[in-house]
Structure formats: structure tokens, C-alpha cells
Subunit: 229 residues, 2 copies
DNA sequence: GTGATATTCAAGTATTCACTTGAATACAAC
DNA sequence: GTTGTATTCAAGTGAATACTTGAATATCAC
């Protein structure tokens, strides 16, 4: 009754999208690119693989249509090909969080114990931003901040945080955010700030989810450090 | 700085979810189970594979946490483990539709030319249902209808449609729906009805998307054929 | 043009995967 | 208990995959 070979091919095409996300290294690449575009060598460093291997993973993502490229001189910048890809990546993590038995252990092994860390949802953060009683801290690498961030956020990459704590405004709660729920930067930031006696919490999710939810974003260079608006 | 082995394992765990969807046959299984639970032999028949092979695919889906089982006598029924899995499957198809170059051709090869077929969005259908000027026709196999359908829909499996056209009410547009955007049943139904001079259109998407969107659903046996409410 | 750098390609290897076939298990009917 | 049926398991094969190494390509600076 139904056209079996044609149906198989159609579903193989759907599966090709999932298949390309079915490698931990390519998943890391998508996670990185969800923060904004990056050249090959930086991606390789980010995922801890050789450049040749990273390039081949990127070719696969390209063939599957999940990423696009842009040439700039000798460098080739990769980026996700659209917001549907971000949604797909979020959906994968959701299913994993709900249904993969060992995920909690693995996440704890990587992230450490989060029990002591406060976290805010996006809605809570927008409320508090409206009330004006928070400082929003973007602790991702500065180039990710430049390609897009929460409006009014201060960029202090996690590596520089310890040395710049004194520049941060006092008297308001500091809410740190980073790449997402499974990113260590914001956790590290909250721990560092707490050790210095500053009230701090993390945004539960990260920048890609914020942008994907249609909340306002801003891009460009960070202001000179000091108290923001 | 970051714990590479732990990070790799965490992302491997995310990837394991995508990987298991990265086979056309397993994708078909998920598509079938999105309509409701099914025993192994029916799934095997639905995807056109041997029972042994289907069983192994199901084991993989089970290990990855995407499906659950229920024993009933000697038969084992598989079902999706939650709505997050449906969302993931929808996300995969969206990315494929947007970014996989050959998908249009493959879909047309399987579905045939759709240019002449009217289709309604979910919102359009709910409006027309409220206005009372449509007959909603569920052309999936009856057991899928029983495990959940659009309220007020009439169940006429596609294979029986030709013989039951005379039982359908006249004077109202007939809107057929089935498993989803890439399912042929509703297309076939619209063509069959049109040939008989009845005004017909299809719902753009299928039952799983309807249910996932939080729209009302109903379950149970179909009424005896004849005009519904 | 030459040299330097970023990226891709190609070949090789160990591993994993999909499917087949045939046997083993688990429950139901008797 | 035996028989029948639904499902799973195990072994085998050919294809695909991830990563490595080393060479090829493309652009820029000069």
C-alpha cells in the first residue's frame, strides 16, 4: 500500500539530522555555536580535539544543514543555520534530563554540587531587572558577549572575575549567567562571589535559551568596567 | 581549567539521545509510537522490518530512555516515555524541513504532489469547529483513533474510506487528519473525497502535534458510523 | 612571485552498527 | 506438565564511523 523505499528515504533524511547530533563532540560544537559564530581553531580548542578532526565534524554538520559558514580572510567562521537548530539542541537536552538515568551523576561530576547555589528562572530575572535590584553578569568569554547578551549585562569573563570583583557594584544581588544549564561558568562565578561575601545567584539557563524565548537582547562591545546603568 | 573527561561524558550522554533517533527505522518507530502504544509485531510491520531487527531497535530506544514498555500477557507494548520525546521528534523534523536540501524531493516522492490539496492549520480548524461547518475525519488505523483523537472526529481508516463515503454527512467541508505532516493518509483521503465531488481539505499537521499543543483530545471507541453531533 | 597560516582532504585503523539467521526465553492455553 | 506464540538474545557479515597522521589547498602579507 505505501511506498516503502520512498518512505524509508524520507525517514532516513529526518534521521540524518539526529544522527549528526549523535556524537558527543558534535553536540559540544553545537553547544558552542549556540553562543555565536566561531572559527575552526577556536572550536577545536573548545571541544578538546585536533583541528583536522574538528574540521571533519564541522563538515558533517554542514552537510546535514545544521551550520553555515562565512569566510573572513583565511579563516572560516561557523554558525548555527537557524533558531530551529537551537530548539532541537534544547529538546535533546530536555529528553536527556528527563529520561537518561545517569545524567544526574554525569552532570554532577562535571558541574560539582549545585545544592548550595541559588538559581533564578528567566521570568524571575526579568522581574528583578524591572525592579532594578540586580546586577546581571555575563561570565562567558568576551567574544560570546559581543555576539549577543542580555541587555544591561556586564561582561566579566569567568577567568577575570576574581581580579575584578572590587569593580562590581555593591548592595545589589549579582545574577551570573553563561552558556546554559550545563555550563560551569556561572556556577564558578557564584561560588567565587559568595566567597567574597557578595550575594550572588545564577540564571538557571543560559543565553541561547534567553534569546530563543524571544526576550530582548543586545550586542556590541562591553562598556568600560564600573557600575552599569 | 575545565574537566575534559567529565565534560565529554556529559555531552556523550546528551548525544546518546540524538544518536538513537539517528536511524531512519528508529525514527519511523518514534513516529508510529507518537500515535499511541503498539506491540512489537505491529511496529515491525509498520516499519517494514523483521521482528528481530525491530526488537533490537526497540531495545536501543529503551536503553536511551525514549520509550517504555508494558506487558500484557505474552505481548509487550511500547510507548514513548513522555511528551518531551514528541517535542524532540517535532524539532528534528523542523530542522530537516528547514535545512535539509533534498527533503522536499523526498517528501514529494513519498507523498505525491500536494499543490492541489487545501490544508488547514490547527487554529483554522478550531475556528471552523467552533463555527460548526466542518466534519473532522480521523483516517488513521482505528486503534490509533482509540488511543486519542480530536474531539468529535469520526474514525474512518483510510482503507475503508472509499466504501464509506456515502455514510459521511454532506453539506459540510470534510477535514481529514492523520499522523502528521509527512503522513500520506490524509492526502489520500482528500484525493478520494474530491474525486467523489465532496469538498475536502487536510489538517496541516497530525494528531501528535495537536495533542502536544495542549488542544482538547478525546479517547475511546468510535461511534457507529453515520452523522456525528 | 614566496612564505606563513587556516582549513580541508586522503589514507589507515580500530570500533561500532544494521541487518540476517537461528536459537533461547517467557507467558498463555490446555 | 506440553504446545504455541511473542519477544529477546547471540553470532556473523559488510558497511559506516571517529580519530590520527601527513599532504593539499586557499588566502593573506610581502
Amino acid at each position: 500500500m505505501s511506498d516503502r523505499p520512498a518512505k524509508d528515504k524520507l525517514f532516513d533524511a529526518f534521521a540524518s539530522v539526529a544522527k549528526v547530533l549523535g556524537s558527543g563532540r558534535r553536540a559540544e560544537i553545537v553547544d558552542v555555536l549556540a553562543q555565536g559564530e566561531r572559527p575552526v581553531d577556536e572550536i577545536a580548542e573548545e571541544i578538546g580535539q585536533s583541528i583536522a578532526n574538528t574540521s571533519q565534524h564541522l563538515q558533517q554538520l554542514l552537510r546535514a544543514g545544521l551550520v553555515r559558514t562565512r569566510r573572513e580572510g583565511t579563516r572560516i567562521h561557523y554558525r548555527l543555520s537557524g533558531t530551529a537548530v537551537t530548539r532541537l539542541w534544547v529538546a535533546v537536552r530536555e529528553v536527556a534530563a528527563e529520561h537518561v538515568a545517569e545524567l544526574d551523576e554525569l552532570a554532577e561530576a562535571y558541574l560539582g554540587d549545585r545544592a548550595a547555589l541559588d538559581s533564578l528562572t528567566r521570568a524571575e530575572l526579568t522581574n528583578r531587572m524591572a525592579a532594578g535590584d540586580v546586577v546581571v553578569l555575563d561570565v562567558r568569554p568576551e567574544r560570546e558577549f559581543r555576539s549577543g547578551h542580555i541587555p544591561g549585562a556586564v561582561s566579566v569573563p569567568i577567568g577575570e572575575l576574581a581580579g575584578r570583583i572590587k569593580d562590581l557594584p555593591h548592595g545589589r544581588i549579582i545574577v551570573a549567567y553563561c552558556r546554559g544549564q550545563y555550563c560551569v561558568f556561572a556556577d564558578d562565578a557564584v561560588r567565587t562571589l559568595r566567597e567574597q561575601g557578595m550575594p550572588a545567584a545564577r540564571l538557571e539557563e543560559g543565553y541561547p535559551e534567553w534569546a530563543e524565548a524571544g526576550l530582548p537582547v543586545e550586542d556590541g562591545a562591553p562598556r568600560k568596567s564600573g557600575a552599569p546603568g
